[in-house]
């Protein structure tokens, strides 16, 4: 039997809110049009990450696909990323198209806006999944068969939904308290589902690359392809059929800079791995169908791929975040009723999970990661700008209805 690595990379950029003050609320509606030499300038960031990550990594993936007939990769690409790439780096989208055209790159479904809508409004969640499906069809000409929720936020209810929606596979964190004695390196059946398969991230091997690769304090530093291959062999053990490597696409070149050797590492690892007969790569849907489910996994509580808690507290852990979400989703019905595409679009862009992530106040251990990924001076600044934007949405809503208030 073949042993297949499921390499899945997540491509995303949020529409960051600029320093949007009380003084602009109700007079300017351009929350996402930050400019200047700062990290709220979305165009500037996209161009920077395109140079550091998207262009070199796409080139590497293309080379690997051209060189190794057994190399495969899966990508999830958010709608907010595609919008920004269309504006500021259309060649990057062409590169992605070229990858998909090889027939060995699967696009994974998700919410268009990289939102946590599943936890607030199933209706809105469904609309965003449909929007994403349509966008992927339009840009890449392919249909999606596997689903991943924002931040890999997963529970039984989501699996049931994905099963009924006809997806063949769904992705989740291979978190020990959920797996108990079991290994993430098999295919499972989510509790309460009929057909769908559950793929669980091997977080040790994934995070060795995504988080630890360039860390000089790490006992295993430097990690080379040979050492990683040994760990991979150990993970497959006697009979495991799959190892799921799930990570942010931006790991390559942005989170781990080129000078860490991340691109070379990847190139060599793929070549080495495929030298052994029987070793291969799977797309996520292939992986789900490579084996029968070895058991049922029940996950009543939501797990994610973030932080040491693997829960939603990085996004929904404090009252700033709860307030933001409460006021944002409270607008749903009124906003949808306007039929105003721009207003609805701005409301949806604010649903992107990154906004509340920037409001995270968990300073210790995980906090340094959050600080690195935040374009704002503090979580409180992030909160004020987003709250002002939400109030501006209310104002625009009032202009529509000539009625209302807060």
């Amino acid at each position: 039997m073949s042993r297949g690595i499921t390499l899945y990379l997540h491509v995303h950029q949020p529409w960051r809110v600029r320093d949007y003050t009380v003084f602009e609320t109700a007079s300017h509606h351009d929350y996402f049009d930050g400019n200047g030499e700062n990290d709220r300038n979305n165009g500037r960031i996209l161009r920077k990450v395109a140079d550091k990550s998207y262009r070199p990594m796409n080139a590497l993936l293309k080379k690997l696909l051209d060189t190794h007939p057994d190399f495969k990769v899966s990508l999830s690409i958010t709608g907010t990323f595609i919008e920004q790439a269309e504006m500021w780096a259309p060649d990057v989208l062409d590169d992605f198209r070229a990858l998909v055209e090889t027939g060995r790159v699967e696009i994974v479904a998700e919410t268009y806006y990289h939102s946590l809508a599943f936890f607030y409004s199933h209706e809105e969640f469904n609309r965003q999944v449909n929007m994403h499906r349509d966008k992927i069809r339009e840009v890449f000409g392919v249909e999606t068969t596997a689903f991943r929720n924002t931040e890999l936020a997963y529970n039984d209810q989501l699996a049931e939904w994905a099963d009924q929606a006809g997806f063949q596979a769904i992705l989740a964190e291979g978190w020990d308290p959920v797996l108990d004695w079991r290994s993430p390196n098999y295919v499972y059946r989510p509790a309460g589902t009929e057909n769908i398969k559950l793929l669980m991230k091997n977080y040790r091997l994934s995070d060795d690359v995504a988080f630890r690769f360039g860390n000089r304090e790490w006992a295993e530093y430097p990690l080379d392809a040979h050492k990683y291959q040994q760990w991979m062999e150990a993970a497959f053990g006697g009979d495991a059929p799959i190892v799921n490597l799930f990570m942010d696409y931006e790991t390559f070149g942005e989170h781990q800079w080129e000078d860490t050797g991340i691109f070379n590492f990847m190139e060599h690892f793929v070549a080495n791995w495929l030298k052994t007969p029987g070793n291969t790569f799977y797309t996520v849907t292939e992986a789900a169908n490579a084996d029968e489910p070895r058991g049922e996994i029940s996950t009543p509580h939501t797990i994610t791929w973030a932080d040491t808690e693997r829960d939603l507290t990085a996004w929904l852990g404090n009252s700033l975040q709860h307030e933001t979400m409460r006021h944002l989703y409270a607008l749903e019905e009124d906003i949808m009723q306007t039929g105003d595409i721009e207003l609805i679009g701005d409301w949806r862009r604010l649903q992107t999970s990154d906004h509340v992530y920037y409001m995270c106040t968990k300073w210790f251990n995980d906090g340094d990661v959050h600080a690195y990924f935040s374009p704002y001076e503090s979580p409180y600044d992030a909160f004020l700008y987003v709250m002002n934007a939400i109030r501006d949405l209310r104002y625009r809503l009032m202009q529509h209805t000539r009625y209302g208030g807060m």
Partner: protein
């Protein structure tokens, strides 16, 4: 007469009311014919101060964050170093210049005042805008600052207190004889507030809420424990529970800023609370104008000039009983700073009664003009003359 005035900040490099009060007081005294040398701890341009001579004690430029802020800097060791340089400069001045009286403002310049008196034998007026008891809003505070205040108050020939509340603190906490203390209420310089037209363009969202029948409750202050803002936030939450057409405008900045943002979220009223950051110019004045009600929530406020500024911009006033400016205004609501239920009640009362709102507005407007900087200057001059004749007779 030549006056050596020791201050710590002047507009536009002020972080609070101290600089504003010093500016207008000095101006009124200068207009009464007094030569003033005004010493500052930093070096910067100050427009419209040609009627006095400003001495920069150091080459330091004002803090960028508040374009001032030195008076309330949290970094004590840095502040002490600056004070040491300031004293050296004042020593040099009294050695080389002839003065009649020394007038020192607050603990920041008290040591320099004491030193100047030692060297020159001139009479020293210590002007108390706030004590460490006010700033810390407690009986604790920084013991070193207490000590500096104690010595300054002891050595001073005359003490000016900005309110009866402050006078009472000086008597009870520092055991200073009441006869040595003169209450000199601050005033509002109306001429500096001319040339202003309110065009409703700055706070568009709040204006739109007002059209929908909302009442805007505003405050403009430093976000420090002295100002009682956590209590104001609690009252805002209490009031919002019972009446939802309220919005709260918090203008300013300070070490409690993040805490207040968090508190609003904890109470679930983030969408009703507006944080502007530090405001000046039009944004500052429009903040008063957009407010229907101005709340001064201080735990301990020696005077509270912003209440008079608010009255000038046509707001109703709710002022804590611990704020000095409240002792001479009648047409206002008062409450104990800790009594958040009462404050909530007063806010709702005003919000739900247009008649009450307009009557409070009118009375505040008719009363705030009885404070005048010319009266303050006259009081200062009388005291300078008494001290001079007392010393030299």
């Amino acid at each position: 007469m030549k006056l050596l005035m020791l201050g710590w900040e002047l507009p536009p490099h002020n972080s609070g009311g101290l600089g504003v009060a010093c500016y207008h007081m000095a101006k009124a005294i200068a207009q009464a014919g007094v030569d003033i040398d005004f010493v500052l701890p930093y070096d910067a341009a100050h427009p419209d101060t040609e009627w006095m001579t400003i001495h920069a004690a150091t080459k330091q430029i004002p803090d960028q964050r508040t374009e001032g802020g030195l008076a309330y800097s949290g970094d004590y060791p840095t502040l002490r170093k600056l004070q040491a340089s300031y004293i050296t400069h004042v020593e040099e001045l009294v050695r080389t210049q002839e003065y009649d009286v020394i007038h020192a403002h607050d603990w920041l310049t008290m040591e320099a005042g004491v030193r100047a008196k030692e060297l020159s034998g001139l009479p020293l007026v210590v002007h108390v805008h706030a004590t460490e008891f006010d700033r810390s809003a407690s009986d604790s505070g920084n013991p070193l600052i207490h000590e500096i205040e104690y010595q300054g108050l002891m050595v001073a020939d005359r003490i000016f207190a900005v309110s009866n509340i402050t006078k009472a603190i000086i008597v009870s906490k520092y055991n200073i004889p009441a006869e040595k203390i003169e209450v000199v209420h601050n005033a509002l310089d109306v001429t500096s507030l001319l040339n202003y037209e309110y065009d409703q363009s700055t706070y568009r969202y709040l204006e739109s809420l007002k059209e929908e029948g909302y009442t805007i409750v505003g405050t403009i202050t430093r976000f420090t424990v002295q100002k009682g803002l956590t209590q104001l936030m609690k009252a805002a939450a209490r009031a919002s529970e019972r009446y939802d057409r309220l919005a709260f405008l918090f203008c300013g900045d300070g070490e409690q800023r993040d805490e207040l943002i968090q508190l609003a979220a904890d109470y679930g009223i983030s969408d009703k609370v507006y944080f502007t950051g530090f405001v000046r110019g039009k944004q500052w004045r429009d903040a008063y104008s957009v407010s229907d009600v101005f709340v001064m929530s201080s735990v301990s406020e020696p005077f509270g000039l912003t209440a008079l500024e608010a009255a000038h911009h046509d707001t109703a006033l709710i002022i804590s009983k611990q704020s000095g400016v409240g002792e001479v205004l009648k047409g206002i609501f008062r409450y104990d700073f800790w009594d958040t239920d009462k404050l909530a009640d007063q806010i709702i009362g005003i919000a739900t009664s247009p008649a009450l709102l307009s009557s409070l507005r009118q009375s505040a407007k008719s009363e705030y003009l009885k404070f005048s900087w010319n009266d303050v200057a006259q009081k200062c001059l009388v005291n300078y003359h008494q001290l001079r004749t007392g010393v030299y007779a």
